[in-house]
C-alpha cells in the first residue's frame, strides 16, 4: 500500500504538469464560436489550424449556421464565414476575419502515431464556462455506433465532455490535434472525435477544389464466405459505366487494398472510400482467381443522390449459420 502511494504521487504530479503544459500551449488557438441557425442561437468550440484565421469546428456548430461570431481567448470578437462543411465527416471549416497577427494555431498529428490508451487532452468551452481542459485516453477506433455506420473510423476517447464542447480539439501530449470532438457518448462520460486524417482529407479537398469532393467508383461489396489473402470484402457487382468497371474490376474480385488502406472486411471499404477524391487516381489491389492484380481507378464525383441513414432494420446482422456478417443491405 505504501509503495503504491509513493508511486502514485510523482506520476500524478507529472501527469498534471504535462496536461497543464498542453493546455497552456494550446489555449490561445481555441475559440468560442457563436452562430445562428434556423432554430436560433447556438454556441460551440472551434480552433485555428493555420495563421490565416482558418478554424475548424463541428458540423453541428457551423455546418448550417450563419452570422458567425468568433470569441478569441482574449475575449475579442470577430466575425467569420463558412468555407466548407461536410456532414459525412461531421466538421465545418470557417474563416475568421481580422484575426490578430501572431494568433497561435494547432498542428495536426500524424494519424499513424495513434493507438489505444494514448493519453489525450480536450480543450474547450463547456457551456458558458471559460476554456477548460479535460484529460483522458484513446479508448478505441470505431466504425459504427448504435447501429449506424460512420463514413470513416471515429476516435472514441474516454474524455468527459459537456455541451458546448462540440468542435473542440482533441490533443495528444505534444499539443497536436488528433481529432475534432463531434459528439458525446453516454451522457458525456466519453466522446467521439473525427480523426485528423479525415480532417486533412476535407482540408485537402478545400485547398485543391474549393469544395468537398467525395469520390465514387460504383462498387457494391458483400462479405465472402471464406477469407482470401486475409480479406472477406468481395465485389458483389459493379455499376454500369462506373469508374471501377472501366478500370477493370470484376464481380467476384476480393479487395485487398484501396488507396493506402488495407482491406480485410467490407467494413474497411467504408473507411477507404471516405478518402477517395473525385478526379484523383486511386490504386486498387484485388485477388482474382489465384493471383493478385493491381488496378488504378479514377473516382467520379458522387451524384447528388440522397443518402439515407441506414435504418435499424438495415443493420448488418451476424448470420446464425456461419457467424459471418450479412451485408447485403440497401
Amino acid at each position: 500500500m505504501g509503495a503504491s502511494v509513493a508511486f502514485a504521487g510523482p506520476v500524478a504530479d507529472s501527469l498534471s504538469t504535462e496536461v497543464r503544459e498542453v493546455f497552456e500551449r494550446c489555449k490561445g488557438a481555441v475559440v468560442k464560436v457563436e452562430a445562428t441557425d434556423k432554430t436560433g442561437q447556438l454556441c460551440g468550440t472551434g480552433f485555428f489550424i493555420d495563421p490565416n484565421g482558418t478554424l475548424l469546428t463541428s458540423y453541428s456548430v457551423g455546418g448550417e449556421s450563419r452570422d458567425f461570431v468568433v470569441i478569441l481567448p482574449s475575449n475579442a470578437k470577430t466575425t467569420a464565414r463558412l468555407l466548407i462543411a461536410d456532414a459525412r465527416a461531421g466538421i465545418a471549416m470557417l474563416r475568421a476575419e481580422n484575426v490578430p497577427s501572431g494568433t497561435p494555431f494547432l498542428p495536426m498529428a500524424k494519424p499513424a502515431e495513434l493507438a489505444v490508451a494514448t493519453p489525450v487532452v480536450a480543450v474547450a468551452y463547456p457551456m458558458d464556462m471559460p476554456l477548460t481542459p479535460s484529460f483522458g485516453m484513446i479508448a478505441g477506433f470505431d466504425l459504427k455506433y448504435l447501429g449506424r455506420y460512420f463514413a470513416t473510423t471515429h476516435i472514441r476517447a474516454s474524455v468527459p465532455v459537456q455541451r458546448g464542447q462540440g468542435g473542440a480539439p482533441l490533443l495528444n501530449m505534444q499539443g497536436e490535434v488528433v481529432g475534432v470532438i463531434i459528439s458525446s457518448i453516454d451522457n458525456g462520460s466519453a466522446c467521439f472525435a473525427i480523426p485528423s486524417e479525415a480532417v486533412e482529407k476535407i482540408h485537402h479537398d478545400y485547398d485543391r477544389y474549393g469544395a468537398v469532393r467525395p469520390g465514387w467508383l460504383g462498387v457494391i461489396v458483400c462479405a465472402a464466405t471464406n477469407s482470401t489473402h486475409g480479406s472477406t470484402a468481395e465485389v458483389e457487382r459493379l455499376e454500369i459505366d462506373a469508374p471501377a468497371i472501366k478500370a477493370g474490376l470484376l464481380p467476384g474480385d476480393i479487395l485487398l487494398s484501396i488507396g493506402q488502406t488495407a482491406i480485410k472486411s467490407p467494413q474497411d471499404v467504408l473507411n477507404a472510400s471516405f478518402f477517395l477524391t473525385a478526379g484523383e487516381k486511386t490504386p486498387i489491389v484485388v485477388w482474382r482467381g489465384d493471383k493478385e492484380l493491381p488496378f488504378e481507378a479514377e473516382p467520379a464525383e458522387r451524384s447528388a443522390t440522397e443518402y439515407h441513414i441506414p435504418c435499424l432494420q438495415a443493420i448488418p446482422t451476424v448470420s446464425a449459420t456461419n457467424g459471418d456478417i450479412t451485408l447485403r443491405l440497401r
Partner: protein, 167 residues
C-alpha cells in the same frame, strides 16, 4: 334470537332514558365546521383555485363565459401570429459584422439548451454530395429554443453516416 313483545317493550323503555353527553348538541355545529375546514386544507391549492374560478364564472353565467372564451381565442391568435412570423422571417440574409456582433452581444447571458442529436437536415447547396437525413430520425435538437438563447452544442451521436458497403 327473536324478541318477544315483552322483551322488546322493556328495551324501548330503557332506550327512552338514554341521552347524548352534555354539550353534544351545542358543539355539533362547531365540530362539523372544524372537520370541513380540515378537509379543505388537505386538497391541493390548484384544485381550490379551480373551484373558486368555477364558482366565479358560475355566478355571472352567460356573459362571463363569453368573455372567457373570447380572451382565450385572442391569446391563441396572437401566439399563432407570432409563431408564424418567426418561422417566415428568421432573420435577414445579409448582415454586417457590426450587426452580427451587436446581435450576439444581446445574448451575452446564454441559457442552457441541450443539443442532443444531429442537427443536419439538409447540407448546404454548395456541398457535394447533397445529403438529406430523414426528418423522422432527428429528435430533440430541433425543438424550438426558448427566448432565443444559444444552444450549447455537443451531439449525442455523430452526424456521419454512409450507405453501407458501396463506394
Amino acid at each position: 334470537m327473536p324478541l318477544d313483545d315483552q322483551t322488546l317493550s322493556t328495551l324501548l323503555r330503557l332506550k327512552r332514558y338514554e341521552q347524548p353527553p352534555p354539550g353534544y348538541f351545542e358543539d355539533f355545529l362547531r365540530e362539523f365546521q372544524t372537520r370541513q375546514r380540515a378537509e379543505l386544507l388537505r386538497r391541493p391549492a390548484w384544485r381550490i383555485a379551480l373551484d373558486r374560478l368555477e364558482a366565479f364564472f358560475n355566478q355571472s353565467f352567460t356573459l362571463a363565459r363569453f368573455t372567457y372564451a373570447t380572451a382565450s381565442f385572442a391569446v391563441l391568435c396572437v401566439a399563432g401570429a407570432l409563431t408564424f412570423n418567426m418561422l417566415q422571417h428568421p432573420g435577414s440574409s445579409v448582415r454586417t459584422s457590426a450587426e452580427i456582433l451587436a446581435a450576439n452581444a444581446a445574448h451575452a447571458q446564454p441559457a442552457m439548451q441541450i443539443a442532443s442529436a444531429p442537427r443536419a437536415t439538409t447540407i448546404n447547396a454548395t456541398l457535394s454530395p447533397q445529403i438529406r437525413i430523414p426528418d423522422a430520425l432527428l429528435d430533440s435538437q430541433l425543438a424550438p429554443v426558448a427566448d432565443g438563447h444559444p444552444r450549447y452544442i455537443l451531439d449525442t451521436r455523430p452526424v456521419s453516416y454512409e450507405p453501407p458497403f458501396s463506394f
